[in-house]
């Protein structure tokens, strides 16, 4: 059974802060804020790799290429939807 969407978003925010060593309260990250933009968290390509590893190791979902990753990493909401869809489809 998949996790409730809000719980999954909370887990993702916690993972972002812990793995990327962000100096921000996980609760302060907005669901729809862009992850890779100065208007959002301002992550870079090094963070992207760490995020790929985090999603794989902590959420059990693989991100195989940049095209998929760039869509999934648009925001916490987008990443939660991507992870949920992958879990539902058993990929």
């Amino acid at each position: 059974m998949s996790e409730a969407p809000q719980d999954l978003k909370v887990r993702i925010k916690k993972m972002l802060v812990e793995r990327l060593k962000l100096e921000v309260d996980p609760a302060a990250i907005e669901d729809d804020a862009p992850l890779f933009s100065e208007q959002g968290l301002g992550l870079d390509s090094i963070d992207a790799l760490e995020l790929v590893l985090g999603v794989e190791q902590e959420l059990g979902v693989r991100i195989d290429d940049e095209e998929v990753g760039s869509k999934a990493f648009a925001s916490v909401s987008a990443l939660a939807a991507f992870v949920d869809e992958r879990i539902q489809s058993g990929v």
């Binding site: 390509s45 790799l49 790929v52």
Partner: protein
């Protein structure tokens, strides 16, 4: 190492900054050979103790040279002779003896690597250096295609 067949590493570095001599296949897998020769900057550096910075450079070169021999890792390692970039170092650990009482010319180190993950042009790679079967240095390196 059981194999005596070595191949030239695919690296853009030239003397004196090429720290990997050759790639070898042995019973434990593929390894990059780092030799302490009389001319090696590693050997000269050992007079005051082996600097960790040079060891990390050797580990990065070893990882890129090893990855270049694997077709599946080719886009991160770059095309033959193209530079890869060391962009991050994590969990670096060196044996005290290696740093403070380093070996002299004639010694060979063997470096191995394992790709932990990759995304686009970036790869996180676990790298280790062995001497006489013992692990003397380990690190997780972040490498990018140049």
């Amino acid at each position: 190492m059981t194999s005596t067949v070595g191949s030239e590493p695919t690296l853009p570095h030239g003397f004196p900054f090429r720290l990997v001599d050759r790639i070898m296949d042995g019973a434990d897998g593929r390894r990059a050979v780092i030799s302490l020769t009389a001319c090696s900057p590693l050997t000269h550096a050992t007079r005051q103790g082996l600097p960790a910075t040079l060891l990390l450079e050797a580990m990065a070169q070893a990882a890129l040279a090893l990855m270049a021999t694997d077709v599946s890792e080719g886009d991160v390692a770059g095309e033959a002779g193209q530079p890869g970039l060391l962009v991050g170092i994590d969990q670096a650990d060196f044996s005290d003896a290696l740093i403070h009482d380093p070996p002299g010319p004639g010694v060979e180190f063997y470096a191995g690597c394992q790709v932990r993950g990759r995304f686009g042009r970036m790869a996180k790679v676990g790298v280790w250096i062995e001497r006489e079967g013992l692990e003397v240095a380990t690190a997780e390196l972040l490498l990018a295609a140049g």
